[in-house]
Amino acid sequence: MIDGLAAASIACALVAGVACLLQTWRDRAVGVGLLATAGVVEAVLLAQVIAAIVVVAGGSHADQPVNFVLYLVASVVALPVGVWWSLGDRSRWGSGVLGIACLAVAIIVVRLGQVWESTGG
């Protein structure tokens, strides 16, 4: 795995998640700003998927291949689904949904790194 991309996607997802929860706290619905932020996070995640495919095609492989693929798929599917579900409620709670989705993405990418290089656990 490319550590730089993983770190970048975790950082982006956390920043986006905090921004969403801040908007929830301020009683703001999901707007263009949050959608653009989610788009940036998704772009970094897609770059990570491409990088992972390149690395695997180059001969490296994950310590837990099945889990790695599942987490990789989950990392790019989570935000689109989260955006769709958040837009169903045009209130502060929509922003909350997107915030939870972003935090979930951060956890997924952390787990992605763990199943790529599992140190005995």
Binding site: V66, L70, D89, V97, I100, A101
Partner: protein
């Protein structure tokens, strides 16, 4: 287009799920995350290393099913789904308390972190908090429907 829009939105308003609006929308989100996580985890465990810890993995699979039912029931409108959601959340609460206690008493039977072992401590204790929030929310929305 414009003529059909008011009717469409009114219909959506009638069909909207009370339990999946407002804070309930976040509840459904967290339930959905747990449903997906528990399903894929137990599918991998049962298909690759079932003999490693049969009881723990079957309990994980059961937990996964409960999360799926709870997610769908909370997201859907109607009194019937409301009752299904209450049953699912109650099952979840009983399950997480029973499995949590069992895993503390007999930790050998739960070698891997299953979703409900140690009261969900491997998942930030969300598994034990979630059904309590779910039941509280269902009580509130149910009462509003009655009154």
């Amino acid at each position: 287009m414009d003529e059909t829009r008011p009717a469409g939105s009114a219909e959506r308003g009638r069909g909207a799920s009370r339990t999946a609006s407002g804070p309930g929308r976040i509840l459904v989100t967290v339930y959905a995350i747990f449903a997906v996580a528990a399903c894929s985890r137990s599918a991998v465990q049962i298909s690759t290393e079932f003999d490693h810890a049969r009881v723990a993995y079957l309990l994980s699979a059961f937990a996964a099913v409960v999360y799926v039912v709870a997610t769908v029931a909370l997201a859907r409108p109607g009194a019937a789904w409301q009752r299904v959601a209450v049953a699912a959340c109650a099952t979840e609460l009983v399950g997480v308390l029973a499995v949590g206690t069992a895993s503390v008493v007999d930790s050998a039977a739960f070698p891997d972190q299953a979703v409900w072992s140690n009261y969900g401590s491997g998942y930030l204790l969300i598994p034990v908090i979630l059904p309590v929030l779910g039941l509280t929310w269902l009580r509130r929305t149910g009462r509003r429907a009655g009154g």
